[in-house]
C-alpha cells in the first residue's frame, strides 16, 4: 500500500476512533502553534506502529491503541517535530496537545523522515511515493514494490534475481535513473540492485515522472526513482525469514543502535536463494542427437537457474551533533552466484553456464542544517564502487530443456569458450546547498559528479578481445543544478530550475584509414543545459493541482561514442538525446459521512523525445552503430483511485494508458523515404496496464494489538507487439499476450507488529506470464514469511 493510500486512511482513523473496542485506549488532543493557532494537516502517530492520524482544520486529532508504552510523535511541514512518551491503560482516554515551533524548513532535502512522504507528494513534481514499511512483511524485492506504482512497469525475465528493466511512462533503459538516498545506483553492480534488495531495506520509494528535481543530478530524461532507506536513528532489531516455492529462501536482518550521545550504528544484511525451478511451456524441443528442434507442446522445469546473493550494508556515525546532524561512514558488500538457464530467447538453453559478481561500496554522508548561518543547509555524499563480474561458459555439452545433454567436442555452450572477468570502478559524489532566504524565497544548488574507469567492458569473451579492448575507458560526468522556490502562500508554490551537464570521455578510437584498425586513446567532451518549472496549487484542503515541465537531456555513453572494434562502430558526432516533458495532474482526498474516504489522483503527461540515440544494426555484417535519429511522442494518463471504509476495508486501482508513437517521418537521417512505421505505436513497450486490490483488516483478532489482513490483487497487462505493429501478416506477429494474474497475501501480526507471519499465493491461477518476448516468468508460487520486530523505545509491549 502506498502512503498515498495512508493519507486518507489516517484521516479515517481520526474519525473512526469512536468505534471503540474494549480494552482500547484513546488519545485525543490538538496541535497548536506557539501563537495558539490551529495546525491542520499535522501527522500525529505512535512511533513504530501503523497508528496514525492527521489533524483537522481545528488542529484536532484522535487515536486509538492497545494499552502499552508508546512514543507519540507530532510532525508537520515547517514545524519542529515533537515526541512525547505515553503509557496507555485499558479503556483510558488521554488528552495530549502539542505546541509546535516554526522551524527553518529544509527544502528539497531528499533524506527526510516522518512526514517525508506527505512532503514529497505535496511538492509540485509529478511524483508517487510508495511506503515500503507497509510491505515489510512481504517477500517482495524493490522491483516488485515499484511495479505497484502507477505509470511504472517492471519487466522481469524470470524468477528470483532475474534481470529487471524499468519502463516509466514509456521511457526505458538508461533514460530512467535509479538512486538510493540520492546516490545513482547504476554503478552499484549486479550484486546490489532492484532485483535482489528486499523491500525491508527501504523506508519508501519515490518515483519522479518526467520532471526531475535537481537533487537527482543526472541526465535522466525519463524520470528518476529514489529508494530511501531507513534513516531513523533509533535502536531496533528486525529479523525475518521467508521460504517458498522453487526452494526459495530469503533471510534478512536489520538492526540499529543509537546512543544518547548520538553515536549510531546501522546494519542491514540479507540473502536470497532460489532454484527458480518453475515450469515453463515450450512449443519446440531440441533433439540433442541431431541438433534439430521438434515441434510440440512441452512442459518442463527450469533445471539450471539457481540464484544466490548476499549483501551486508553497514553505517557507523553520529546524529544530532553540533557539527553535524548526520555524519555516517558506510560500507556495503555483496556477492552473487547465478546459473544461466537460457539465452535471450528460450530457444537456446544452457546447463552449465554461470555468472558471479562481487561488489564493495564504501560511502560517506555529511548533513548539517544551519551551517555557519541560519537557514543554510548542506549535504555531501560520496560513494566509491568496486565491481568484479565473472562469466563462465566452458562446458563441452549440448543441453536441451529436459536437462538431457550430449558431450560435445567444442567448449562453450554459447558457442565460445568463456572464462572472463570484468572489473569496473566508479564513483559518485553529490553536494547540495540550500538556503531559505525568507518565508517566500529559497534557493538550492546541487552538484553531482560521477565517473567510471574500466578496462575490459565488452560482453565479448576475453579470447576474442584485441589490444583496443584492453585500453582504458573512462568518463566523468558533472551535473550542476540550480533551483529557486517561490512560495507565494500556503496554497501556491513554484519551483524553477536549470541543469548544466558536462561530460568528459576517454576511450580507444579506430584512427586507421586503411589496412588493419589502429586504436589510440582519444577524448571527447560535451556540455549542454536543460531547464524546467514545477508549480502546485491547493484549491482547498482536499484538492491539489500540479503542473511541471522540463527540457531534459541524456548524454551519449563512451561505448556509443567510441564503439568497440568487434560489433559497435564509433560515432563521435553523437549529440545528446533530448526530451520535452510536460505533466499536469490533480488529486482529491475527500471524507464522506465519517466512514467513507475516497482518494483519486489523475496525472496526464506529454513527452516529445528527439535525437534518440538509436542502435542501427547491419544484419548482414552483424555490426551495430549508434546514431541520433528518431522522434517519439508519448501522451498518457496515470490514474489511481482508492476507497476506504473505516479501518477495515480498502479498495483501490491503478491504471496506466499511453499512446507512444514513432513521430519520425523518414526512414533514416539522410533518407527521403517515408518510414512505414511512422505513427506506429512504439514496439515492445507495454502501454495499457493496471491493478485492482482489496484488503480487509480484522483488528484485535485473538488478542489486543493483533491484526489479520487479507489482501487480494488483480493485475493485468494488455497485449503488445514485440516489433512494429504495421509489419508482417497479423497471425504471424511476435506478440506478448495479455496477462491476467491474481495474488493473495494473508498477514497476521501480533503484539502490535512484534511477531508477524505472512502467507502469499502469487499468480495463484498459474497463468503463463511474459514480460519479455518468449521469456516465461514463474507460475503459481507460495511463500511463507515470519518476522520479528523489536524496538527499544516501543518494546512492542
Amino acid at each position: 500500500m502506498t502512503i498515498r493510500y495512508l493519507i486518507p486512511l489516517l484521516v479515517l482513523f481520526s474519525f473512526t476512533s469512536s468505534i471503540a473496542q474494549t480494552d482500547t485506549a484513546f488519545i485525543y488532543g490538538k496541535v497548536l502553534t506557539n501563537d495558539k493557532e490551529a495546525v491542520p494537516g499535522a501527522y500525529v502517530f505512535l512511533e513504530n506502529t501503523a497508528i496514525k492520524s492527521i489533524t483537522n482544520d481545528l488542529g484536532e486529532f484522535q487515536l486509538e491503541a492497545s494499552p502499552g508504552e508508546y512514543n507519540l510523535v507530532c510532525q508537520t511541514i515547517g514545524y519542529e517535530t515533537k515526541i512525547q512518551s505515553v503509557h496507555l491503560k485499558s479503556e483510558q482516554k488521554i488528552e495530549i496537545s502539542f505546541s509546535v515551533n516554526e522551524k527553518e524548513e529544509v527544502l528539497n532535502d531528499i533524506v527526510i523522515s516522518g512526514n517525508a512522504i506527505k512532503q514529497v507528494q505535496e511538492s509540485p513534481y509529478n511524483v508517487v511515493a510508495l511506503d515500503a514499511k507497509d510491505l515489510h512483511n512481504s517477500t517482495m524485492d524493490l522491483g516488485g514494490m515499484l511495479n505497484r506504482a502507477s505509470g511504472v512497469k517492471i519487466r522481469s525475465s524470470g524468477g528470483v534475481g532475474s534481470n529487471l528493466s524499468i519502463s516509466l511512462n514509456g521511457f526505458t533503459g538508461s533514460r530512467v535513473k535509479v538512486f538510493m538516498n540520492g546516490v545513482p545506483m547504476e554503478g552499484f553492480g549486479s550484486a546490489f540492485q532492484l532485483n535482489n534488495i528486499p523491500v525491508s531495506v527501504a523506508n519508501r520509494i519515490e518515483v519522479y515522472k518526467g520532471v526531475v528535481p535537481i537533487e537527482f543530478g543526472s541526465d535522466a530524461i525519463g524520470g528518476a526513482i529514489n529508494i530511501v532507506t531507513n534513516q531513523e536513528s533509533n535502536t531496533f532489531l528486525d529479523l525475518s525469514y521467508s521460504f517458498g516455492s522453487f526452494n526459495t529462501h530469503k533471510p534478512s536482518v536489520s538492526a540499529g543502535y543509537t546512543s544518547k550521545n548520538g553515536f549510531s550504528v546501522q546494519l542491514n544484511a540479507f540473502l536470497n536463494y532460489s532454484d527458480n525451478c518453475y515450469k515453463v511451456h515450450l512449443d519446440k524441443m531440441l533433439d540433442i542427437e541431431t541438433g534439430s528442434y521438434k515441434r510440440g507442446d512441452y512442459t518442463v522445469k527450469r533445471f539450471h537457474d539457481s540464484y544466490f546473493n548476499r549483501t551486508i550494508m553497514t553505517q557507523v556515525g553520529f546524529v544530532e551533533k553540533p557539527w553535524a546532524d548526520r555524519f555516517f561512514i558506510g560500507l556495503t558488500a555483496g556477492e552473487l552466484d547465478a546459473d544461466i538457464q537460457n539465452a535471450s530467447t528460450m530457444e537456446i538453453v544452457y546447463g552449465q553456464r554461470t555468472r558471479s559478481a562481487k561488489t564493495i561500496l564504501p560511502s560517506i554522508e555529511y548533513y548539517k542544517r544551519d551551517l555557519f548561518i541560519d537557514n543554510l543547509t548542506f549535504r555531501l555524499t560520496g560513494n566509491l564502487n568496486f565491481n568484479v563480474n565473472h562469466n563462465i561458459d566452458t562446458a563441452a555439452r549440448l543441453y536441451n530443456w529436459y536437462g538431457d545433454y550430449l558431450p560435445i567436442k567444442t567448449r562453450g555452450e554459447s558457442g565460445t569458450n568463456t572464462l572472463s572477468e570484468y572489473t569496473n570502478q566508479n564513483f559518485s559524489s553529490t553536494a547540495n546547498t540550500s538556503y531559505r532566504i525568507n518565508k517566500h524565497h529559497s534557493i538550492s544548488l546541487n552538484d553531482v559528479i560521477t565517473g567510471y574507469s574500466r578496462k575490459v567492458s565488452s560482453d565479448v569473451p576475453v579470447e576474442d578481445l584485441t589490444a583496443a579492448d584492453t585500453m582504458r575507458r573512462a568518463a566523468i560526468k558533472n551535473v550542476l543544478g540550480l533551483s529557486y522556490v517561490y512560495r507565494y502562500n500556503e496554497n501556491w508554490n513554484v519551483n524553477i530550475f536549470g541543469k548544466h551537464y558536462h561530460q568528459y570521455i576517454v576511450g580507444p578510437m579506430d584512427t586507421a584509414s586503411t589496412g588493419d584498425p589502429k586504436y589510440e586513446e582519444q577524448a571527447r567532451s560535451f556540455q549542454t543545459t536543460g531547464y524546467g518549472i514545477a508549480l502546485t496549487h491547493f484549491l482547498n484542503k482536499e484538492i491539489q493541482l500540479k503542473a511541471s515541465l522540463e527540457r531534459a537531456y541524456r548524454l551519449p555513453s563512451g561505448r556509443q561514442l567510441f564503439g568497440d572494434e568487434l560489433l559497435t562502430s564509433a560515432n563521435t558526432d553523437l549529440k545528446p538525446e533530448n526530451s520535452t516533458n510536460v505533466n499536469i495532474g490533480g488529486s482529491i482526498n475527500q471524507v464522506f459521512s465519517r466512514f467513507h474516504t475516497i482518494y483519486i489522483d489523475l496525472g496526464a503527461y506529454y513527452r516529445f523525445n528527439k535525437d534518440f540515440i538509436r542502435q542501427v544494426q547491419n544484419a548482414r555484417y552483424g555490426t551495430i552503430s549508434n546514431v541520433n535519429f528518431g522522434q517519439v511522442r508519448n501522451i498518457g494518463v496515470d490514474l489511481e483511485a482508492r476507497y476506504y471504509y473505516k479501518n477495515t476495508l480498502t479498495l483501490g486501482s491503478t491504471l496506466t494508458y499511453m499512446d507512444m508513437r514513432n513521430r519520425e517521418k523518414l526512414r533514416s537521417a539522410n533518407s527521403s523515404v517515408v518510414d512505414a512505421t511512422y505513427n506506429n505505436r512504439m514496439p515492445n513497450i507495454p502501454y495499457f496496464y493496471g491493478s485492482t486490490d482489496a484488503t480487509y483488516y480484522k483488528h484485535n483478532l485473538f488478542g489486543i494489538g493483533n491484526v489479520l489482513s487479507i489482501n487480494y490483487t488483480f493485475n493485468f497487462v494488455g497485449e503488445f507487439y514485440l516489433l512494429w505493429e504495421s509489419q508482417g501478416t497479423p497471425n504471424t506477429k511476435a506478440t506478448l499476450p495479455r496477462q491476467l494474474y491474481h495474488d493473495l497475501i494473508i498477514n497476521y501480526s501480533l503484539k502490535n507488529g512484534k511477531y508477524n507471519i505472512s502467507l502469499e499465493a502469487l499468480n495463484f491461477t498459474n497463468a503463463q506470464l511474459y514480460d519479455n518476448w518468449s521469456m516465461q516468468k514463474p507460475g503459481r508460487s507460495f511463500n511463507v514469511k515470519v518476522r520479528y520486530y523489536w524496538n527499544k523505545t516501543l518494546n512492542n509491549n
Binding site: 588493419d516 523515404v673 516489433l723 509489419q727 508482417g728 501478416t729
Partner: protein, 400 residues
C-alpha cells in the same frame, strides 16, 4: 509442417554462399519438354529488428510490401543457403550465442511456410558451403581438451537437417609452429571438400587450401604463392572466396588486405590435388585496381565479385560495388544499371537463378529493390520493389 520426404531426395545442387539451382543444360535447352514445377520466389525482407519472409511470383518486377504481409520473425539472419529449389535455410550467426536456423519451403498450395522447427549449431560458424548432401558450416573454436581448432557442422539436407559434427586439430598442419583457421567450403566432387586456410599471425601473401574428407581429416594441403590467402575480411568476420563452376572445378580467389599480391584467381580442377599451374587470372588490374572480398558462382563460368568501395580499403571499408568475371575468357565487367556506391545504403545476399543474378540493393532514397543482372552483359535493371522494408537479407527460388 513436416517436410515431404521426397523433396529431400531430389538431387542436390545446394548452395550456401554459392548457388546452383539450374543445370548446365539450361542454357542449351530453352524449350523444356516436361512442364516445370510451379515456382515462387522467396524474399527475406528486413524492417529494423524483424525479418519478414514473403513469397512472390516474380523477382523481375512488381511491388510487394512488409506492411501487413510476411511471416514475422524477430531475428536477423546473416546467411541464406539452399536445398536446390525445395527449401531455403535462413541462418543466424549471433556472436556470443549458438547459431540457429529456420527452413522455409512452399506447401502443396504454394504458400510459404516453415519446414520443421529449425536447428541449432552450438559452436556457431563463420562460413559455410555445400558438400555432397550436406551443408557444411565451419568455424575455429575451442575444443573440450582446451586446444583450438576447426569445428565442422554437417547439416544433412536429406535427413530433416539433422546435424553432425567433426573436428580438426589445426595446429601444425601448415608447418610445425603454424596454426590456421579455415574459411569457405566447396565440394571437390571426389568425396572430399576444399577449404581455404588462413595462417594465424602468418603471411597473407601465400595461399593455402586444405582438402578434407567427410570426417574432416586432411587429405592434401595445397599451396601456391601466386595469390594471397583466399578469404575476405570485414572487421573480425571472414568470408569465403572459393567457389565451384558447373563442372565442379574450384576457383580460388584472393585479395587480402595488407598483402602485396594482385587480386586474382587460381583454379583447382575437379579431382586434382594441386592448383592448375597453367591458370592465373589477374582480376584487380581489370577492375581499375579495386579489390574484392566475396564471390558467388552464377552460372557456367560466370562469377560475381563484391568489391570494396575504396582503392586502399581497411577491414571495415564498405563493399557495395560488383563485377562479373568469366573465368574461361578471363574477362571482367562492372555491373552497370545498379545504384552508385554513394547512394547504396545496404545490400543483401545475391541469388543466382534463371540464368540471372538477383541482387538486392537498398539506396538511401528508395525502398529495397531486387536488381536483375544478366551475367553475360553485367547490365542490370530494377526488379521487384519491397515497400516498407529497410533491407533485403536474402532471396531464393522455391518450387512445389
Amino acid at each position: 509442417m513436416k517436410i515431404k520426404a521426397h523433396l529431400w531426395l531430389i538431387p542436390l545442387t545446394v548452395l550456401g554462399l554459392v548457388m546452383i539451382s539450374c543445370s548446365e543444360n539450361d542454357n542449351q535447352d530453352p524449350d523444356p519438354v516436361e512442364p516445370s514445377a510451379p515456382s515462387k520466389y522467396f524474399i527475406a525482407a528486413e524492417n529494423n529488428d524483424g525479418t519478414y519472409f514473403i513469397a512472390v511470383d516474380s523477382l523481375t518486377g512488381g511491388i510487394t510490401t512488409t506492411s501487413g504481409n510476411g511471416i514475422e520473425d524477430p531475428n536477423s539472419y546473416t546467411h541464406y543457403a539452399y536445398n536446390g529449389t525445395d527449401a531455403v535455410l535462413a541462418i543466424s550467426y549471433r556472436q556470443g550465442n549458438p547459431a540457429v536456423g529456420r527452413i522455409f519451403g512452399l506447401d502443396e498450395l504454394g504458400l510459404l511456410s516453415e519446414i520443421g522447427a529449425g536447428f541449432q549449431m552450438t559452436a556457431g560458424f563463420s562460413s559455410l558451403g555445400p558438400f555432397e548432401n550436406y551443408l557444411v558450416a565451419t568455424r575455429r573454436t575451442t575444443f573440450s581438451d582446451e586446444t583450438q581448432g576447426q569445428n565442422f557442422y554437417f547439416i544433412d539436407l536429406e535427413n530433416d537437417a539433422a546435424i553432425s559434427d567433426k573436428q580438426l586439430a589445426t595446429y601444425g598442419i601448415l608447418g610445425d609452429t603454424l596454426d590456421c583457421q579455415l574459411v569457405g567450403v566447396v565440394d571437390a566432387g571426389d568425396g572430399t571438400f576444399l577449404s581455404a586456410a588462413e595462417v594465424i599471425d602468418g603471411d597473407v601473401d601465400d595461399c593455402y587450401m586444405l582438402k578434407l574428407d567427410g570426417d574432416a581429416n586432411v587429405v592434401t594441403v595445397l599451396n601456391d604463392d601466386r595469390i594471397g590467402r583466399a578469404l575476405g575480411q570485414f572487421r573480425s568476420a571472414r568470408y569465403s572466396l572459393i567457389a565451384n563452376d558447373d563442372e565442379g572445378n574450384t576457383f580460388v580467389f584472393a585479395n587480402p588486405i595488407g598483402g602485396t599480391k594482385k587480386g586474382a584467381a587460381l583454379k583447382i580442377n575437379q579431382g586434382e590435388t594441386d592448383f592448375d599451374d597453367s591458370y592465373y587470372f589477374n582480376i584487380q588490374d581489370l577492375a581499375d585496381d579495386f579489390t574484392f572480398r566475396k564471390v558467388w558462382h552464377l552460372t557456367g563460368k560466370y562469377f560475381l565479385l563484391e568489391f570494396y568501395n575504396e582503392l586502399e580499403p581497411s577491414s571495415n571499408t564498405p563493399a557495395t560495388q560488383y563485377g562479373i568475371v568469366n573465368m574461361d575468357t578471363k574477362s571482367f565487367n562492372w555491373v552497370t544499371g545498379i545504384p552508385s556506391i554513394e547512394d547504396i545504403d545496404n545490400v543483401g545476399w545475391p541469388y543466382a537463378g534463371d540464368d540471372l543474378v538477383y541482387l538486392p540493393i537498398t539506396t538511401v532514397d528508395s525502398n529495397p529493390v531486387v536488381y536483375v543482372v544478366d551475367p553475360e552483359t553485367a547490365s542490370a535493371y530494377a526488379g521487384v520493389e519491397i515497400e516498407s522494408a529497410t533491407g533485403i537479407g536474402g532471396l531464393a527460388k522455391l518450387t512445389y
